[in-house]
């Protein structure tokens, strides 16, 4: 099967500086990305050595923590950064005799996500035990859905730009193999100096959706764009908060390279990726590393590697038991998870007694792609602007609010939003919500501009003043700093005369003769 969604091939690996394999100085990510982007056009000549070009293949496994008040199989609360071991039920600590009880909310979240990702929802899915010994896995096994997951065969469309100016958007699709419900593990903290391991079980048993993406991507940027789109979808649905920094969205990348017409190469799994930016870096690094390794006559091991964000490279994870046999077994304490649709719903049952897929489907919110289309259609803005609006949390709402409160055309408003507001926020690492300038103030300012009360240059000065957040209105600032455009002909003449009068020499020079 050829890689889908990307016909790209990579040319021969750039020579790395001497030092051989290992965490040496990494090639610049910029350079790698350029390779990927250039290649997207299609045919790329073979490398200098005359070897055939390389096709990278990237698949992703994404763990999204379900946004839910309680855990997947217990009543313990779910909360980030709570005091260690304060959110642990008897079941979470695997006390003998305790049994799992499935959390309805988690199932609904998975169904919503499955529907949003165009999956078919399995009306009967099963739970399995996956066994391994680890300090933060108290039961010695994780309850997951290995055999029959809750959702299968979906797809995710995502867009990315083909140059840095964001003016050329390309839409691609990655197939979703499956979504499975499973338990999160706890956290182990290794104290090497005292050779102790501290275990926090707050996270143990929190519901996860594992989204498995087929290897339809071919570079870090595609992987990053796909994950970003998934993140937006999850956040729109509310099925996960999907904040990577808080571990609510965790991405493992499967990477391999092969020559056109040949079977897929041996893949590695890259873990420890905790931001979208690092995802792109990690994938591109790994592709580059594999190409180099192969071209130097080396072999790719089917191994797990960790991304070291400081060094910008991937390193093999020390994994004593490379050949883990998880000894999967059906979870005997949970009956099959049965879902219904309008057709199969038993009589006398409403959506509160059972989970009705159709009921959930009808109530799905607008997904990001639909929202973008609506923004483009309603406000006449460019498609790429709609991406930026949705990429920042709350920015689209901010934009719409400004538009509502001003006479300025949305097409013009968008410039102020993207060029002025957004760049200011980015400079100061602020979220839209934290913006010192509210949509009301910005609209106020734009109205002054629109009514020709001030010039666009003056508007920028006012905005600069507004950032200070001193509670002044745009009009007050305009007055204070005398930034009004002069509407009075006589006054204007007087000012001009005064200027001329003050600059007699220059005037004389300018008058011919």
């Amino acid at each position: 099967m050829a890689a889908r969604g990307c016909g790209g091939v990579w040319r021969r690996a750039r020579q790395r500086s001497a030092g051989g394999p290992g965490p040496g100085p990494a090639p610049s990510p910029r350079g790698q990305r350029a390779v990927a982007c250039n290649s997207r056009g299609g045919a790329v000549p073979a490398g200098k050595s005359g070897l055939a070009p390389w096709i990278p293949v990237v698949g992703l496994e994404i763990h999204a923590q379900i946004s839910s008040n309680s855990k997947l199989f217990s009543g313990s609360q779910v909360q980030f950064a709570a005091p260690p071991n304060s959110l642990v039920s008897f079941f979470d600590a695997s006390l003998p005799g305790t049994l799992p009880v499935l959390n309805r909310r988690c199932v609904e979240a998975a169904v919503m996500t499955g529907l949003a990702l165009n999956c078919s929802i399995n009306k009967k899915s099963l739970f399995d035990r996956k066994h391994y010994f680890y300090a933060d896995l108290p039961a010695g096994y994780q309850i997951t859905q290995q055999r029959v997951p809750i959702a299968v065969n979906g797809s995710l469309s995502y867009s990315l730009c083909t140059d840095n100016k964001m003016s050329q958007m390309v839409t691609k699709t990655v197939r979703i193999k499956q979504i499975q419900l499973e338990q999160d593990s706890g956290k182990s903290l290794h104290d090497d100096t005292r050779s102790q391991t501290l275990v926090d079980l707050n996270r143990a048993g929190v519901g996860l959706m594992e989204v498995v993406m087929e290897p339809d991507m071919c570079c870090g940027e595609e992987a990053a764009a796909a994950v970003r789109e998934l993140q937006l979808i999850l956040q729109t649905l509310g099925s996960s908060q999907a904040v990577m920094a808080e571990g609510q969205l965790r991405v493992d990348a499967n990477v391999s390279v092969h020559h056109p017409g040949e079977p897929y190469g041996v893949r590695t799994e890259v873990k420890n990726i905790n931001s979208i930016r690092f995802l792109a870096k990690a994938v591109d690094y790994e592709i580059q590393r594999q190409i180099e390794e192969l071209e130097n006559g080396g072999k790719i091991l089917n191994e797990t590697r960790a991304f070291d964000s400081k060094l910008g490279c991937t390193v093999p994870m020390r994994d004593k038991e490379a050949k883990q046999d998880y000894r999967f077994m059906p979870e005997p304490n949970l009956p099959p998870l049965i879902l219904y649709d309008a057709k199969s719903l038993p009589a006398n049952m409403n959506h509160q007694q059972v989970i009705n897929i159709d009921w959930i489907h009808k109530r799905l919110p607008d997904l990001p792609s639909v929202k973008r289309e609506k923004l483009v259609e309603q406000y006449g803005i460019l498609p790429e602007h709609s991406f930026t609006l949705l990429n920042e949390d709350g920015l689209a709402e901010f934009f719409e609010s400004v538009v509502k409160q001003t006479q300025m055309k949305p097409k013009k408003v968008i410039g102020w939003i993207l060029n002025d507001l957004l760049s200011y926020l980015k400079q100061h690492s602020l979220t839209v919500e934290e913006s010192p300038v509210s949509s009301f103030l910005l609209a106020d300012l734009l109205n002054l501009l629109e009514r020709n009360k001030i010039s666009s240059t003056a508007a920028k000065l006012v905005l600069a003043e507004l950032w200070k957040g001193e509670g002044k209105t745009p009009l007050e600032i305009v007055k204070e700093q005398k930034l009004e455009l002069l509407q009075d002909q006589k006054e204007l003449e007087q000012i001009c005369q005064a200027v001329i009068d003050g600059q007699e020499n220059e005037v004389i020079m300018m008058v011919p003769g």
Binding site: F90, L99, P100, F133
Partner: protein, 526 residues
């Protein structure tokens, strides 16, 4: 004060009428537990809390507001059910000293209905066994070893041998509970039944042992052996009492997703007078190798009893039952391997002092904490679950299990109401004889007649039927349709009435008892 009858008909009435108080009942049971300590039926006796519970019950009776039939009734619970405040050990080093922070649902239900919890009964380690001989607290002795009936018939090889080598096992793994009920130290006890662990010791100890339909009683708080087969078992002196206990325990539990959704309606058992509409099935495959001629003849007598009373008695076939032992071995060990994974010494239970690394600690903890039987099952279970073996063993065993279950479905669909089979191959073996063979072989032999009901999830009950030539109890098993406990128990009650199983005459207890006087008083009472 004759209280030989049932809980409903006699004991409860005596309590209500004030002929006996809960505290008196409790004290007498506690005294008897002490005087029968040599039976090793109890691991922990909760004297203090039991007396307190009895006192509270007494208050309720004084106010004329007892909570029901079970109010003030002394009961015992197998030591693989979680109990707050009382150790839950599973007869294993792994859980020695472990005090659970919660009550098993069944324990909570009993307490909520006013029952007095006397203590926790002995078992095979983690309920893995069929003799109650393989626990860390030593073997349980069958009270019948010390009965007039047994003493009369068993001729000791020599004088010196008689005492130590002639005592017989209780069967297992709920041997402690069976012995406790059989020796009158409690009025009812909870066991667990995965392959026959309630019915087998019930048969050997001459008490009623009910294994309800899978899903009828909550497993929450029962430390699992095989989750897909475990059910809490009920051990009582008579079938009526089993119905009382069942009524107090059955029904949906939100903490156990495998329990039935519907509410359970407790029932009183009618006195069946007409069995002519009944169809009793005799499965021919239960003529198992090793079935003693004595039991075989008892079985056919029982069949004749039904026939003569007008019931239809038909031979039926359960062709796949003979695969049940090997099938059980695979499924049981696989689940055991999985269930035992949590005992790593981190959160609770035994933790080894070897702490060079987490892995070393795990290994040492588990080696020190589990006996050979448990470790052996973990090893084979993990083998069956290996990726390369999963299809060949586990999946195949699951398919065979389905075939075994389907056999029952077919038989019941053909119009048979109840199956009648032996519960055990023979009467209880002397301990010295029993331990000649290893746990695995014994379990395979002993579970053969009881296990299929667990595979199929069906309700089954042991009814004490007669005494063997050696003066030991022999029981027969009735297997019913899923969730048809009422029919099953009604037929069992009819049968119980016909056979008039003799009361144990615990002669030996007196010899072991320092407080003989107190003791005799009790016996006239019970």
């Amino acid at each position: 004060l004759p209280l030989k009858g049932g809980l409903r008909s006699q004991v409860s009435a005596a309590l209500k009428e004030g002929r006996v108080t809960p505290t008196e009942l409790c004290q007498r049971c506690l005294a008897l537990i002490k005087s029968t300590k040599f039976l090793n039926a109890y691991i922990t006796v909760a004297e203090e809390t039991a007396l307190k519970q009895a006192e509270e019950s007494e208050e309720r009776y004084k106010k004329g507001q007892p909570l029901g039939i079970l109010d003030g009734i002394p009961i015992a619970v197998k030591d693989n059910f979680n109990t707050t405040g009382i150790e839950t050990t599973c007869a294993s080093n792994m859980l020695k000293g472990y005090i659970s922070p919660y009550n098993a649902t069944v324990v909570q239900k009993l307490l909520d209905q006013g029952a007095v919890l006397l203590g926790k009964t002995n078992l095979d380690e983690f309920a893995m066994g069929s003799g109650s001989t393989d626990g860390v607290f030593g073997p349980v002795r069958n009270p019948w070893s010390y009965s007039k009936q047994y003493k009369k018939k068993s001729v000791p090889k020599s004088r010196s041998e008689s005492e130590e080598s002639n005592w017989v096992i209780t069967g297992g793994s709920s041997g402690g509970s069976a012995a406790a009920v059989s020796s009158f130290t409690c009025f009812a006890a909870l066991g667990s039944d995965t392959g026959g662990s309630t019915r087998n010791p019930a048969a050997h100890c001459g008490v009623v042992g009910l294994k309800p339909t899978y899903g009828l009683i909550s497993r929450h708080g029962l430390i699992p052996l095989v989750n897909s087969m475990d059910v809490p078992g009920i051990l009582t002196r008579c079938v009526d009492d089993a119905a009382v206990l069942l009524g107090s325990l059955a029904g949906h539990d939100p903490k156990d997703s495998t329990t039935i959704q519907d509410d359970f309606m407790p029932f009183e058992l009618p006195n069946l007078t007409d069995v002519s509409k009944l169809s009793i099935g005799i499965p021919k495959e239960y003529h198992a190798p090793g079935l003693s001629s004595e039991i075989l003849s008892l079985w056919s007598k029982a069949a004749d009893l039904f026939k003569n009373a007008g019931a239809k008695v038909v031979e039926v076939s359960l062709p796949h039952t003979r695969y049940s032992i090997v099938c059980y071995h695979v499924l049981c060990t696989a689940e055991v391997a999985s269930n035992m994974a949590r005992f790593d010494g981190l959160e609770y239970g035994h933790r080894s002092d070897m702490k060079e690394s987490t892995e070393i600690m795990y290994a040492a903890t588990r080696r020190e904490g589990f006996n050979d039987v448990v470790r052996g099952r973990i090893l084979s279970g993990n083998y069956f679950l290996l990726k390369q073996n999963y299809e060949k063993y586990f999946v195949k065993a699951q398919k065979v299990r389905r075939l075994i279950a389907n056999d029952f479905v077919k038989v019941f669909r053909s119009g048979v109401d109840i199956l009648l089979t032996p519960t055990t191959l023979s009467d209880a073996a002397p301990y010295m004889e029993f331990i000649q063979e290893d746990n695995r072989t014994r379990s395979a032999q002993d579970d053969i007649l009881t296990q299929a009901a667990n595979m199929a999830g069906l309700p089954a009950i042991n009814v004490p039927t007669a005494l063997s030539k050696r003066g030991l109890p022999v029981g027969l098993q009735f297997i019913g349709r899923s969730f048809q406990e009422k029919q099953l128990l009604t037929v069992a009650k009819w049968f119980e009435k016909q056979v008039q199983f003799p009361m144990i005459q615990l002669e030996e207890v007196k010899r072991h008892d320092s407080g003989v006087f107190q003791h005799q008083k009790f016996f006239s009472f019970s």
